[in-house]
């Protein structure tokens, strides 16, 4: 059930171990089925791609043409990067990127470090109170953090952290699901290696830092990417804890675009694409880790 087995499983289906091997034996009715399923899939995949492609097409159209409506946009063949250029020149987007980048990276770093440490204690160390602590962690999974937005705001207010990047970072660090994912991974690492290192005189921290963490690269990658994406996309928290326009993260900044840009549809869609661009690039690079991480957190979280 650890990420390692998930990796193995995934490889096997990418290479084609899925049920389609029955295809060799199926007759004409099977072939019809195959053809029908491909057609159904292609039709829906196109439906699923249309909104994104339409947004892309609009962002490459002149604002004046875009204001005329969908038909004009689809019939217009004169792509321009004007909307993207004006976004970059206006400068706000750089502040938003900076805010989203800083908060996402720092949160991912702290989450990975703290969650892996906690998970290591819960997985490997025997101490009084461990089972109770683990129970608390499991209970924590059920707490819907979004519903806590008002008290979290109050906490940050008391700590005078409102309108700082920390107000976005700190509340997102205790991701209980990350502890869970790390613990399941650590449970699967054979204890013998660690014991050998301990006999050689390494203490717990040295074992964790120089033996266990290097072995955990796949799960570290998965948790960091998932945390990064989660923080980058979070709207609710930064919307209420950041009111300084210079500190706004991408989703909060974009929320202002809708109302302030009016009929400049091409510019609006360019903003929508720019907000998503880093994530799309991330997805294309780390496709496997993202899908596995999302699946793992869904199945366990």
């Amino acid at each position: 059930m650890t990420t390692t087995t998930a990796t193995g499983r995934r490889r096997s289906y990418v290479s084609g171990a899925a049920p389609h091997s029955t295809g060799a034996r199926i007759g004409t009715s099977g072939k019809t089925f195959q053809v029908v399923s491909v057609i159904v899939l292609v039709v829906f995949a196109i439906i699923w791609l249309i909104p994104s492609l339409f947004a892309l097409k609009t962002s490459l159209t002149d604002n004046g043409v875009a204001a005329l409506g969908a038909q004009a946009i689809l019939q217009h063949w004169n792509p321009t990067l004007h909307s993207f250029a004006s976004f970059f020149q206006a400068g706000d987007i750089w502040n938003w990127y900076l805010a989203s980048g800083i908060t996402s990276v720092i949160t991912a770093f702290l989450t990975v470090l703290f969650a892996s440490m906690a998970a290591y204690a819960l997985s490997r160390l025997r101490f009084r109170g461990r089972n109770v602590t683990f129970l608390l962690v499991i209970l924590g999974i059920m707490i819907p953090t979004q519903v806590l937005i008002v008290p979290i705001f109050q906490m940050l207010n008391w700590m005078s952290l409102l309108n700082t990047y920390w107000s976005v970072i700190f509340p997102q660090v205790p991701a209980v699901i990350a502890v869970f994912i790390f613990k399941q991974f650590f449970d699967g690492i054979p204890a013998e290696m660690e014991e050998a290192a301990r006999i050689d005189g390494a203490n717990r921290w040295q074992v964790f830092w120089s033996l266990v963490l290097p072995l955990s690269r796949p799960v570290i990658a998965a948790v960091s990417i998932l945390t990064f994406v989660g923080v980058w996309n979070n709207l609710l928290l930064p919307l209420f804890v950041l009111s300084n326009p210079n500190l706004m993260t991408i989703p909060v900044g974009l929320a202002t675009v809708q109302s302030s840009f009016g009929q400049r549809y091409a510019d609006i869609q360019a903003g929508a694409i720019l907000a998503a661009l880093p994530l799309i690039i991330l997805y294309l690079i780390f496709q496997r880790q993202i899908v596995e991480g999302v699946t793992g957190s869904g199945l366990k979280g």
Binding site: P144, V150, A275
Partner: protein, 321 residues
Amino acid sequence: MTTAQAPAAALIKPRATRSASAPRSISPLRRGDGRSGWLFLAPFGVFYLVFLIGPTIYMIVASFFNTSLVHTDLGSFAGFANYAEMLTRPDFWSAMWHTLQFTIYTTPPLVIFAFVFAVLTNRLRHGQWFFRLAFFLPFILPSATISLIWVFVFTPATGLWAYLQQLLGMTPGNGILANPNTAMIGIAIATVWWTLGFNFVLYLAGLQDIPRELYEAAAVDGASNWAQIRHITLPLLGRTTTLVILLQIIASLKIFDQVYLMTSGGPGISTQVALGLVTGTAFTDNRVGAASAASVLLFIVIVAVAVIRQLFDRSAARREA
């Protein structure tokens, strides 16, 4: 800062345990586990207590007081007045109803489409990557991006949606989001498009756990593709389906982003949802106590579904073992 402290603490530890040598029958390698256990847990524990447990307790306490945003204290004691107010406010019940409405609109398509797409994709020999990209990519986009895209698609009269309606010979009305009766449907359509990928990959993972031999044996016995899906895939994905439905309900109860960005709860309050009511009461009306009472009620509903989910998981795991 914690990174710097922790190794130092760990270096002191072995000596400390040796001096307190009361070795019962624990292996020498286990000595000091207690102290390092808590040291390893401490950083996460602090954040867990301050930003998860603390706010939960504060929310419950504040729900019994007339707390406001301006004053740092709790304000005067209110007893159950905040709850009484919420439970008798029509806009509270309408927000709860809209949340339920959203759940009802989105869950069936999100489960059925994801199931069908996953089963069909899984049977493909080539090009699985393309369908995974098409169906999953929207899921990692920010809610702000998807909202801007769909508000634009739903632009009255000239938007892509209206254009398609015209092509199909329908008369586009004054916009799906502008009409109180259809606004939630518009939000639901955008949401299905956005989050289907999550269920899709969960189903694909579930499909990997079904042994290929089952299909092969069925094929030898002459079972058609349709029969294989109905009698093998469907029952064996039962656990995934229950999980997907419960996760969907939990996510729907917490809906906020799409509504805030696409309609801000409007027209009127026709798409106002529970979390929108909570944040509105706290940050616009400045009434933290009343907002906390609403939060507690929503909290209870969500935790109840989450508990069902955990119980289901555990019993399913036991059955498998």
